[in-house]
């Protein structure tokens, strides 16, 4: 059975409309992407969709009450809310520096959550 699936690539601001053709669930062609990242994105979306998660954690003693954080690379899409839950219980003490590890190996993904802002 042949089916086609359409995706908006999120790897850069171009937002290519990429079409994957599948036969019996196997990818046979990918079209519409401007660069190899588009093909890689769509392949991942069909097998193991992942996202970089950006959010906040509490900070005490700093110039502002929250510090921005991100996953150092993308994590499985299904773990986004589990990761956000884990961040709720974190409380950092100022100063916070960009790159500080906030949670190592978040939710068993093997990926660290790191700080993305400097808080004095």
């Amino acid at each position: 059975m042949t089916e086609t699936k359409e995706f908006t690539c999120i790897r850069c601001p171009l937002g290519c409309q990429v079409v994957a053709t599948l036969e019996d669930g196997k990818i046979v062609s990918i079209t519409g992407n401007t660069c190899p990242r588009g093909a890689e994105y769509v392949t991942n979306e069909l097998t193991d969709p992942r996202r970089i998660v950006t959010s906040l954690v509490k900070v005490t003693g700093g110039s502002q009450p929250v510090a921005s954080v991100k996953t150092a690379s993308d994590i499985p899409k299904g773990k986004i809310f589990e990761c956000l839950d884990a961040l709720k219980s974190v409380e950092l003490t100022a100063p916070v520096r960009i790159g500080d590890v906030v949670i190592p190996d978040v939710c068993g993904t093997g990926i660290d959550v790191i700080a993305t802002s400097n808080i004095q």
Binding site: I10, P13, R51, I52, V66, I98, S117
Partner: protein
């Protein structure tokens, strides 16, 4: 106080302009910033997606800002925070910049050159004419973003977003991450004003509906928003009777466009572009007042900060060039080429090119006024086609650019006009 160069605003444009000017040899410069830190709006844009062009990696807003702040500090560029510029005027060749802060009170600076980097602000409820009471719970998306991401406060629990600009889309995901229920995004136009990838990763990922050709026609609630009424609109953007539906919510976020913040430019009397609401500039990003340059969102609203940095770098270099010459850079350069935006192209930045001052390659940025599929961007020098770029799709939400070559423009005798248009046939 006397200064060679004053830069108004310490956001992405001001930082990149200052770094470029200092690197080009301007030592007597000063950044004036109204917030309590450098970085501007990037500090509250905690999502990723910045810097792919500039740094070849995907950064969050604060990380992107930090790269430039570190560079500015390495270069020992002086700056003042919590400092508000209240006026600029011209006195002969000098520019008189008046600023205020708590330590110094009111201070007047005589500057040889000024770079305008004040950014833009959001279109507010008042400017949108939505009927109803004035209950609590109505915010622009950027205000809500500041509350959540900087101040750590949640503006509400059940949210409707009007307008599908990028800040609105980003806030739909952000509010969802913080535990709010985002019920829908309503967009007046038949297309979104935001980047396609933000619709994919901020709305579709979380099953948040985007209703195109819909608007808010009423806001219910007296003390606090209790519901909004949305309706479908016709092709003239008028609500269609009978299509109203009431959506229960406690918060309405507005993401309905950005307006360059040009009160100071107007006070100075620079000529404005009525389409962008920013100054008219030449190839050096210099306004109609010699020695006053503009870049970033105060000039025209950008979708990518990378392009702001690139544009501001150009402004910083050109300001340095202006300061390096004993006579105004505007002198000479009699050969002016006017860039005309027609057939779907709403404006271009710059809109004037002086061949004498043009670099080998000149970036011309613009936006289109509608959604187009399978068209071309055509550039004519006089009536000769010099460029024809095929485009799969064009949309008003996405900035486009063409690069003009000096050698090509010089090869056409008596050239006075370049036209940029969408070619649909």
């Amino acid at each position: 106080m006397d200064k060679d160069l004053v830069i108004i605003g310490g956001g992405p444009a001001g930082l990149a302009a200052a770094v470029a000017a200092k690197e080009a040899g301007v030592n007597d410069l000063l950044i004036l910033e109204r917030d309590n830190k450098l970085g501007g709006i990037l500090n509250q844009c905690i999502h990723n997606g910045f810097g792919l062009h500039t740094f070849k990696e995907e950064l969050t807003g604060p990380e992107y800002a930090a790269r430039f702040i570190v560079r500015a500090k390495e270069l020992e560029i002086p700056y003042k925070l919590e400092t508000m510029v209240v006026d600029i005027s011209a006195d002969g060749d000098a520019k008189i910049v008046t600023y205020m802060n708590r330590e110094e009170g009111l201070v007047v600076v005589r500057a040889k050159a000024v770079i305008l980097c004040m950014g833009c602000r959001e279109r507010s409820r008042g400017a949108l004419n939505i009927p109803g009471y004035r209950p609590a719970g109505i915010y622009t998306a950027g205000t809500a973003q500041r509350y959540v991401n900087i101040e750590g406060r949640m503006p509400g629990k059940e949210v409707v977003i009007l307008g599908s600009g990028d800040i609105g889309l980003i806030m739909a995901r952000r509010m969802t991450f913080e535990g709010a229920k985002v019920k829908l995004v309503a967009e007046l136009m038949p297309y979104s004003g935001g980047l396609k990838r933000n619709i994919a990763q901020c709305l579709n990922d979380f099953d948040i509906p985007l209703l195109l050709s819909h608007t808010v026609v009423d806001i219910k609630g007296k003390e606090r928003v209790e519901a909004v009424v949305i309706a479908e609109v016709d092709e003239k953007s008028k609500p269609i009777p009978g299509t109203e539906q009431e959506i229960k919510c406690d918060t309405l976020l507005l993401s309905c466009g950005l307006i360059p913040e040009n009160e100071l430019s107007n006070a100075l009397g620079v000529e404005m572009n009525r389409v962008t609401n920013g100054p008219l500039v030449n190839e050096s990003l210099e306004t109609s007042v010699p020695g006053v340059f503009a870049c970033g969102n105060v000039l025209h609203v950008h979708d990518l900060v990378d392009y702001v940095s690139e544009e501001a770098t150009q402004a910083g270099k050109k300001a340095a060039e202006y300061l390096g010459k004993s006579e105004a850079v505007n002198a000479g350069g009699d050969k002016k080429i006017v860039i005309k935006a027609v057939d779907g192209v709403r404006y271009t930045v710059p809109s004037i090119i002086r061949l004498d001052h043009m670099e080998d390659r000149q970036v011309v940025r613009f936006r289109v006024g509608a959604v187009y599929k399978k068209v071309a961007i055509q550039v004519l020098a006089g009536d000769k086609e010099i460029m024809n770029l095929k485009k799969q799709a064009l949309a008003p939400g996405e900035m486009e650019q063409v690069i003009l070559r000096k050698s090509v423009l010089e090869s056409i005798p008596d050239l006075s006009e370049v036209t940029v248009r969408v070619k649909t046939d």
